[in-house]
C-alpha cells in the first residue's frame, strides 16, 4: 500500500528550477534509496517532504489523502520525520533535553523541568535505538555515531505521538559515520521498517544498494529512473546520474598545454583530520588540474589547506621545491598563491564597493609608488586594462560591484588575483557556480588563457563537463581520499560515467 506520495511537484528558486514535475511514491515498510549528483534536487525533495519547503505546484499525499505541510511541526503530525545530519542537536544541552526539545509537553511543570519524568521518557526512546547512555549526558560528550542515533531517537519519538504509519527521511546520515556505526544505523533502519517507510539519501552507491528496496535516481531536478533492487544495474545508474552534464563534443577545444617540467606545487601525504586523508598531487606551471567529488569529498579542503586556512594538517607541501610553511592566507598570497572562493557573495567580493576597489584590494600596492603609498592613477590604468582583457561588462570601474551580473562579478574577483605581479598558482573553487552558460564559456576561455601564460591552476569543478573541458589532468575524490587519477585528459578524455563511478 502507498504510504506517501508526491505528484507533479515543482519548485523554483529564483531563476533555478530545483524540482521539475517530480513524482514519487513510497510503499509501506519500504526503504527507498535516493541517489543523484550535487544539485540534482535530492535535498530539495527531502525538504519538501519534511515541510521545510513548500512546493510551487503539485500534490503531497499521506496515506492517500492530499495534505499541505507548512512546517516541520505539521509534517511531524502527519507522521513524517527528518533525521538531520547531526547538526540539529544543541551541544550544550543533555541528550534528554534534546530529544524533547520540540515537544516539551509533559517534561516541564510551569516552566520547571520534571527531571525524573524526562529521564524515564528519554530512556525509553534511547532503548529503541539500543543506545546505552545516561540521558543526562551532554551531547557535546557523544561521538558522531551516538549523535546520529540520538537524532534518530528524536524522530522515532513520533511513534508515541502519531498513530498511523510513519515516514522517516534520512538526509545523508552516513556522511560522518565509520563503518561499524553505519552498520548499526542500517540495523535500526531494518528494525523500524515494520511500521515506517524510509527515504534514504546517500552519496555512496554501495550503501544505497545495501539498504534500499528500490532505488530512485535524480538528475537535473527530475526523476530519471526508479529501479527495484533486484533489477539494479549500477552501470546504468551511473549513466543516468550524468544527466545533462555531458560534454558537448563540439565545445571541446583541445588546448596544447605547455606544462613546465618542475612542479609549482607538490602535496605529499597531506591529511586534515576528519576531512582529507593522505592526499598526494603535483601541479606544474601551465597545467590545469581538475579536482572533482561529491559534496564533502574534501576537494575544497585541499585548496583551503594550501591557502593556509586549515586549522590542523599533517604531511608535506612543497612550493617550487621548497617546503611551504604557512598558517594564514596572507602568507599564501605573499608567496604568490591566489584562491577564488566558492561563495562569491560572502567570501569573494566586497559588497557595496566599486569594481576598482575589489580589483585593487589585494595587490594594488604592487603598482604603487613603493613605501606603502598607492598610486591611484597607475591602479586605474591597470584595472581598466583587466576590465578590457576579461571583457567585464561594467559602465565604469567606479561602478558598484553589486550591480553587475554574476559572471561579471566573478571576473572582477578573478582579476583581483591576476592584478598581482607575483601570482604563480591560482586555485579556483567552483568558479562557475551560479553563472549562466554564456558567462561560463567566457570564464573558461580566460582560465585556459591564464594557463597558457604559465600560471599553475588548481580547479574544483561544479560539474563533470566543466572539469572535463578545462583540465589537463583530473583527480577524483571520494570520502576524503583520491579514488581515481586521470592524466592526459585533453588527448584521451575519460567518459563521464567513469568519473561518476569513482565519485559515488
Amino acid at each position: 500500500m502507498t504510504a506517501f506520495s508526491l505528484e507533479g511537484i515543482s519548485k523554483r528558486f529564483g531563476e533555478v528550477t530545483a524540482l521539475d514535475n517530480v513524482s514519487l511514491s513510497l510503499n509501506e515498510g519500504e526503504v527507498l534509496g535516493l541517489i543523484g549528483q550535487n544539485g540534482s534536487g535530492k535535498s530539495t525533495i527531502m525538504k519538501v517532504m519534511a515541510g521545510l519547503h513548500r512546493p510551487d505546484s503539485g500534490v503531497v499525499k499521506v496515506g492517500g489523502r492530499a495534505v499541505q505541510l507548512r512546517s516541520p511541526a505539521e509534517a511531524a503530525l502527519a507522521g513524517i520525520g527528518l533525521v538531520h545530519q547531526e547538526q540539529s542537536l544543541i551541544q550544550a544541552l543533555s541528550v534528554a533535553e534534546n530529544l524533547f526539545l520540540d515537544k516539551p509537553a509533559g517534561s516541564t511543570w510551569a516552566g520547571v523541568y520534571r527531571w525524573n519524568s524526562l529521564r524515564d521518557r528519554a530512556k525509553a526512546q534511547l532503548d529503541k535505538v539500543e543506545l546505552d547512555i545516561d540521558p543526562f549526558t551532554p551531547v557535546s560528550a557523544l561521538s558522531f555515531g551516538q549523535r546520529q542515533m540520538v537524532e534518530l531517537a528524536k524522530v522515532l519519538s513520533l511513534e508515541e505521538l502519531v498513530h498511523g504509519h510513519l515516514v522517516i527521511l534520512f538526509d545523508e546520515p552516513t556522511a560522518v559515520l565509520n563503518p561499524p556505526e553505519i552498520q548499526a544505523l542500517f540495523g535500526q533502519i531494518r528494525r523500524i521498517k515494520h511500521r515506517s517507510s524510509v527515504v534514504f539519501v546517500s552519496h555512496r552507491m554501495d550503501e544505497i544498494l545495501d539498504i534500499s528496496d528500490r532505488v530512485y535516481v535524480m538528475s537535473d531536478g527530475r526523476n530519471v529512473a526508479t529501479r527495484d533492487r533486484d533489477a539494479v544495474n549500477p552501470d546504468e545508474l551511473y549513466e543516468l546520474m550524468v544527466g545533462r552534464q555531458r560534454v558537448n563534443r563540439k565545445d571541446r577545444k583541445p588546448r596544447e598545454a605547455h606544462i613546465g617540467a618542475e612542479p609549482a606545487l607538490t602535496l605529499n601525504h597531506v591529511t586534515v583530520p576528519g576531512e582529507i586523508e593522505d592526499i598526494s598531487l603535483k601541479l606544474a606551471p601551465g597545467e590545469i588540474l581538475g579536482l572533482i567529488g561529491v559534496q564533502g569529498s574534501g576537494a575544497e579542503t585541499i585548496l583551503r589547506t594550501v591557502f593556509g586556512m586549515a586549522d590542523d594538517w599533517q604531511g608535506k607541501i612543497e612550493y617550487f621545491g621548497a617546503p611551504l610553511d604557512i598558517d594564514t592566507p596572507a602568507q599564501a598570497v605573499a608567496k604568490g598563491i591566489g584562491y577564488l572562493p566558492a561563495e562569491r557573495k560572502t567570501e569573494g567580493m566586497i559588497r557595496n564597493t566599486s569594481v576598482s576597489e575589489n580589483v585593487a584590494i589585494t595587490y594594488g600596492w604592487q603598482h604603487g609608488r613603493g613605501a606603502g603609498l598607492i598610486s591611484r592613477a597607475k591602479e586605474r590604468g591597470m584595472i581598466e586594462g583587466w576590465v578590457r582583457k576579461l571583457a567585464i561588462k561594467t559602465p565604469s570601474i567606479a561602478h558598484r560591484i553589486d550591480n553587475l551580473s554574476g559572471g561579471n562579478q566573478q571576473k572582477v574577483v578573478l582579476s583581483k588575483w591576476l592584478f598581482g605581479k607575483t601570482l604563480k598558482v591560482l586555485m579556483l573553487d567552483h568558479p562557475t557556480r551560479g553563472l549562466d552558460p554564456g558567462a561560463r564559456s567566457d570564464l573558461f576561455a580566460v582560465i585556459r588563457e591564464l594557463a597558457d601564460q604559465g600560471l599553475a591552476i588548481l580547479l574544483v569543478g561544479d560539474t563533470l563537463d566543466e572539469v572535463l573541458t578545462l583540465s589537463d589532468s583530473i583527480i577524483v575524490m571520494k570520502d576524503g581520499r583520491v579514488s581515481a587519477r586521470i592524466e592526459g585528459v585533453q588527448a584521451a578524455p575519460p567518459s563521464e560515467e567513469d568519473l561518476v563511478k569513482a565519485m559515488v
Partner: protein
C-alpha cells in the same frame, strides 16, 4: 589534568590568587578581610547574575549603570526621605524592581522587533536611564530615612551585612532557574544555535525578552542595595558597575559569543575580580597602577581560560 584546567580554570585561578595574597601579605587572610571581600562582591554579583542570562544568549546589555542609578533615585524619592514628602514605604521596592523589569523587557523587545543589535539598543537605554535619573533628582541629595532599607547595610549577622545574605539568596535562586527551568536551559541553547531552536518551533523571542527583563530586574535590585549601602539617592550611584560585571562574567567563562558559562562561573569571576582589587590594596600597590594591573590581569586570565577554544572562535568582534 588539562581537562581539569579547562573546566575549572577560573576556580583554580581564584584559589591561586587567594593563596598568593595570603602568603605575601599578613592582612589578607583574616576573617575581617574575607568579610570585606564578600561585601565588595555582593552588588557586582547581583548585576552579574542578570547579565549572565543575557550573555549566555549571545546578546549584551550595557544599560547597567543607568538602570541601577535610576532605580536608586526612584527608591530614594518614594520611600521616607529627607527631601520629598512621598512615602509609600516598602512598596517602593516592588515598584523599583518593576521599573527595572520593564526597562529590560523594553530593551529586549526593541532589539528583537526592530532588529537592532542589543549592543546599540542597550547603549541607548543606558543614556536614556541616566537622563531619567537626572530628571527625577529632586535638587538636593535625598537621604533615605527608612531604616528597613538602610538597616540592610548596617545590621550584621556573623559579621556580614544583610546585603551579602540577600545576594546569596539571589544567587541560589538564579542557579535553580538556570538549571531547572526551561527558560534557563533555553538561554544557553539560544546562544549556541538559535536557528535550530526556531526550526524546532520554540518561542525563542519570549525567552530572549525574559532574559533582558530579568537582567533589568537585577540591575534595579543592585540600585536598591546601593541605596541601602550609601543611604542616599544619587544619580551617580550606578557608575562603575558595568565594567566589573561584564569582566567578571567573561573571566568566569561566560563567553560573549554565547552558549558557554553560567551563573556559577560568573560568580567565580566576580570573586576573582574583587579578590584581585582587595589583594592589590593589601600589597600596597599604587592606586594609580592598580587599574592598569587589573586590566592586564583580566586580559591574561581570559586568554588563558579560553585558550582551548581559540580555534573554534573564527570571527572576533
Amino acid at each position: 589534568m588539562s581537562k581539569l584546567l579547562q573546566s575549572q580554570g577560573p576556580l583554580l585561578a581564584l584559589l591561586g590568587l587567594v593563596l598568593l595574597f595570603s602568603v605575601i601579605t599578613d592582612s589578607f587572610a583574616s576573617w575581617g578581610n574575607l568579610g570585606a571581600v564578600l561585601e565588595a562582591a555582593a552588588i557586582p554579583a547581583v548585576v552579574a547574575i542578570g547579565l549572565t542570562f543575557v550573555l549566555m544568549q549571545a546578546s549584551i546589555d550595557l544599560s547597567v549603570e543607568g538602570v541601577a542609578s535610576l532605580a536608586n533615585i526612584i527608591l530614594a524619592i518614594t520611600i521616607a526621605n529627607s527631601v520629598t514628602a512621598t512615602d509609600i514605604g516598602l512598596w517602593a521596592v516592588p515598584l523599583v524592581l518593576g521599573v527595572g523589569l520593564a526597562i529590560g523587557a523594553t530593551s529586549g523587545a526593541i532589539s528583537i522587533y526592530v532588529r537592532m543589535p542589543s549592543l546599540i539598543v542597550t547603549l541607548g537605554m543606558w543614556l536614556t536611564t541616566v537622563g531619567l535619573a537626572a530628571l527625577l533628582y529632586p535638587g538636593r541629595l535625598p537621604q533615605i530615612l527608612d531604616t528597613r532599607i538602610t538597616g540592610l547595610a548596617i545590621g550584621k549577622v556573623w559579621g556580614l551585612s544583610w546585603i551579602v545574605y540577600l545576594t546569596l539568596a539571589l544567587i541560589i535562586m538564579a542557579l535553580l532557574v538556570e538549571k531547572h527551568t526551561r527558560f534557563g536551559r533555553m538561554c544557553r541553547a539560544i546562544g549556541e544555535n538559535e536557528p535550530v531552536l526556531v526550526m524546532s518551533g520554540i518561542k525563542v523571542i519570549r525567552h530572549k525578552i525574559a532574559a533582558f527583563a530579568l537582567a533589568g530586574g537585577c540591575y534595579a535590585a543592585a540600585g536598591i542595595l546601593m541605596g541601602a549601602r550609601i543611604g542616599v539617592g544619587n544619580t551617580q550611584s550606578g557608575v562603575g558597575l558595568l565594567f566589573p560585571s561584564i569582566a567578571a562574567c567573561v573571566l568566569g567563562g561566560t563567553l560573549l559569543s554565547g552558549g558557554h558559562g553560567g551563573v556559577r562561573q560568573s560568580m567565580i569571576g566576580v570573586l576573582i575580580l574583587v579578590t584581585l582589587r582587595n589583594g592589590l590594596i593589601m600589597v600596597g600597590v599604587d592606586p594609580l597602577l592598580q587599574s592598569a594591573l587589573e586590566g592586564a590581569v583580566i586580559i591574561l586570565a581570559v586568554a588563558g581560560s579560553t585558550w582551548h577554544l581559540r580555534r573554534k572562535i573564527r570571527v572576533i568582534k
